[in-house]
Amino acid sequence: MAYTITHECVGCSVCMRVCPVDAIVGKPKERHRILPEVCIDCGACGRICPYASVKDPENQVCERIRIRSRWPKPVFDYQRCMGCTICVEACPTSCIDLKADRGTRETLRYPILNKARNCIGCAFCMLECPVDAVAMEEPTG
């Protein structure tokens, strides 16, 4: 299953720029296409498309979130987090890192959103966390 681009596409290429795995191909001003074998279903193309021309794997038109800085971002619950790094490895844009804390052998390095600008709001970190320690929230302020 993968996302698809409909005939509404005008070839503005904004989706190509946001796709973290270069799964979108096409010439400017022509309808673009998503390579299904490369697409990772992150949905970033659908969130950014100004022409509502991206459909998700369930064939629903994706809802645009106009301002990218308002895309939901991960928030970590350090009471639940156990430091297993699953969220770090789940992130397709490598924007989650471990905070380089130093202390004693008991010290845990917890995940942080290190490169917030790279976050595409895919929620893979939240979906993969086995102890529900990650939530996706719209940034405030």
Binding site: M1, A2, P20, V21, D22, A23, L35, P36, E37, V38, C39, I40, D41, C42, M82, G83, C84, T85, I86, E89, A90, C91, P92, T93, S94, D101, R102, G103, T104, R105, E106, T107, L108, R109, N118, F124, L127, E128, P130, V131, D132
Partner: protein, 670 residues
């Protein structure tokens, strides 16, 4: 396809997307001779019969490595594989494994590592990456979500493993996750005791597979994929993981490091032993990491001392005080977690410069480079651990080989002329450090020792063979078969000889398989220690269950320490069912484990290794028995045990060759 040496390296191919059964359904084949890269679709049936990880790899390599292949030649296949449960939402399932024909033992070879490579393999859309052939120039494999290509690695050749990883991450990692496995100088120089390095010094160390990678001139594997793994029932996976984590989170205030040593001494003195519950080990592991056992194992007789001829008397509490778990972990500044581990038994410590972060030595390294050579100096162990991590060399085998050299020096088989002036005496820290440095560089005496104790003994001759402690050519892990005869058994019956991470009586106790498989023996809560030295069908059933279960765990990408929690606390079988939708019983999974073990055994037979010819050094089984110390007076009835074990596995009890009935029962139509 263009050869990487000839023209552009753009041989990208689509690797394909994920399936909803927790496996990717494909493996990648890279021919280093021609540069050709292809994917192979793996039928569902193969996963159902062999899982993924070392199971699937055993089946593929058994069929495709020709008989008599030179382990360092183009016919050998080197594979990097992840487990079926990796990236499925399960815990303790982030191990990656490297497989091939071992140049150290000539047998099936595999090595297992945590770090962060396992999810990266699946993120590239495959369950394994297999290398055939041999490149003329150094290359590395780059793979991401779109495909894979070989790239020139001339600029990396000669760099140590940690520096290589840093350079590759800098080169590729602006907006993507970059995960690297590579060799250091030891693998490049084809040291037969070299391994493959990941995440700043985690090693898939055993079986000498670093030399295979070096011989293929494959410097590194760089993985930058982002595919997600789809599972059958994610909600069930999460529920199982939450329940498992509940056990892991249990961490009561505990005794201090010195008390572990006295606890070990007390347990040594008692004539009875208590069935070991893995929760106790978990608590200690969580607090100190594997080094929790340092002194305790010496006092108990579990840790070998002085090239396996000494005892706790030679390396008592006064000499081992600097490896006291509290003392030894003082430089640690944070826990280190492998992927998907909720426990974090690793430690990140600071190098002497106070800035650089390095991995804390593990128990195996500490004993191999410490007590085995009577080296009391903890700082030197930290130094050597980092040196060997950078070189990509197996600390267990290095320690075993250094201890062998010291004993040869003691007996006059090596003289200062042979050792470039080094006085190889017991406990001579400086000499140990210089010797290891020479082994890394293959310089002088180091060249003689860089291929392990067995080969060095063959070159030295004059009876040196009796001092080379190994099983089938591989130095042993730091667990003494005279303390737990299960270690001696698995050292010789595993298709990868000298393996300490599959079975032992204490492992069986911790696995607690009888709680989910009621037909298996349930050990008594208390038992006489001397009962451990009996050979009978119950012991064989325990050993066979360990082999079968660990094949399932390794096929799942699981961690031995996770398995120690006990089968009723770590739901390996339930996770597998929830991830794949199979619905197998625990019994059916053990049959899969049995099948995998049998294929590895067939691999050895195809390669001309007769299982009964795999020998364990006599000293290790108490032949003759020790005169003092924790293991005084004991002898392991290994031959008898081995016959029982093979019989239990359906192999010929005299030769270890699987019987036709066994092959038919396991549906192995060879």
């Amino acid at each position: 396809m263009p050869h990487p040496e000839e023209s552009s390296l753009s041989i990208l191919i689509a690797l394909g997307g994920p399936m909803n059964r927790s496996y990717m359904g494909k493996v990648l084949w890279v021919d280093l001779t021609t540069g050709r890269i292809t994917t192979e679709t793996i039928p569902d049936d193969l996963y159902n019969r062999f899982l993924s990880g070392t199971g699937l790899a055993a089946w593929l390599l058994y069929q495709r490595i020709p008989a008599g292949a030179d382990p360092l030649g183009p016919d050998n296949i080197l594979g990097f594989v992840s487990g079926i449960l990796t990236s499925s939402g399960s815990l303790f399932t982030g191990r990656w494994m490297v497989v091939g024909k071992s140049p150290l033992t000539g047998t099936w070879g595999d090595a297992n590592c945590g770090g962060n490579l396992a999810p990266a393999i699946k993120a590239c859309g495959v369950d394994g990456i297999f290398f055939t052939g041999q490149s003329k120039r150094p290359v590395y494999l780059y793979a991401d979500t779109k495909g894979a290509e070989l790239r020139d690695a001339t600029h990396l050749w000669g760099q140590d493993a940690i520096e290589t990883e840093r350079l590759l991450v800098d080169e590729h990692g602006s907006k993507q996750r970059v995960r690297v496995a590579c060799i250091g100088m030891a693998g490049e120089r084809r040291s037969l005791i070299s391994g493959i390095v990941n995440h700043g010094g985690r090693l898939a160390a055993r079986s000498g597979l670093g030399a295979v990678m070096g011989a293929k001139r494959l410097k590194a594997v760089v993985l930058c994929g982002a595919h997600r793994v789809q599972v059958h029932d994610r909600k069930a996976m999460k529920a199982l993981s939450l329940a498992c984590n509940h056990h892991v989170a249990f961490q009561p205030p505990f005794l201090n490091g010195t008390m572990t040593a006295y606890l070990g001494a007390l347990m040594r003195m008692l004539p009875i032993q208590m069935e070991l519950d893995g929760m106790l080990y978990k608590i200690m592991l969580s607090k100190w990491g594997t080094v929790n056992q340092n002194q305790m194992a010496i006092e108990l007789g579990d840790a070998p001392v002085m090239n396996w001829k000494g005892s706790n008397r030679d390396f008592g509490l006064d000499k081992s005080k600097l490896i006291d778990p509290d003392e030894f972990t003082k430089p640690v500044v944070a826990k280190y977690f492998c992927y998907s581990c909720p426990l974090g038994c690793g430690g990140i410590s600071l190098a002497p410069d106070g800035k650089t972060e390095v991995h804390r030595p593990e128990y195996e390294s500490t004993i191999a480079l410490g007590g085995l050579c009577l080296n009391e100096d903890a700082d030197s162990i930290y130094y050597l651990n980092e040196l060997l991590n950078r070189a990509g060399m197996d600390t267990i085998s290095v320690g075993g080989t250094v201890a062998f050299a010291i004993e040869c020096f003691e007996k006059g088989l090596l003289t200062p002329t042979d050792t470039d002036g080094l006085k190889l005496t017991w406990g001579n820290t400086e000499a140990v450090v210089r010797l290891v440095e020479k082994m890394v560089k293959r310089e002088g005496i180091g060249d003689l020792l860089a291929d392990g104790a067995k080969r060095a003994a063959q070159k030295i001759g004059r009876g040196a063979e009796t001092m080379a402690i190994h099983a089938g050519g591989q130095e042993l892990g730091m667990h003494d078969g005279r303390y737990d005869p299960g270690f001696a058994l698995h050292n010789v019956v595993e298709p990868t000889p000298g393996r300490h991470t599959i079975g032992a009586y204490m492992y069986y106790e911790m696995f607690q398989l009888w709680r989910v498989l009621p037909d298996l023996p349930d050990p008594s809560l208390f038992y006489l220690k001397r009962s451990k030295y009996r050979a009978n069908r119950e012991k064989a059933a325990m050993g066979a269950a360990c082999s079968q279960y660990m094949n399932v765990v390794n096929g799942a990408g699981g961690c031995l320490f996770g398995a120690f929690l006990g089968a009723h606390r770590i739901p390996v079988f339930a996770w597998l069912n929830a991830a794949t939708g199979w619905g197998h019983s625990p019994e059916a999974y053990l049959v899969i484990g049995h099948r995998i073990q049998t294929v590895k055994q067939l691999f050895n037979i195809k390669q001309g290794i007769i299982p009964r010819d795999i020998r364990l050094s006599k000293r290790v089984i108490g032949d003759p028995p020790q005169q003092e110390g924790a293991n005084k007076g004991v002898t392991v009835p290994l031959e008898k045990l081995r016959r029982y074990y093979w019989s239990e596995m359906g192999f010929d009890p005299e030769t270890g060759v699987p019987t036709p009935e066994c092959l038919a029962r396991l549906n192995l139509e060879i």
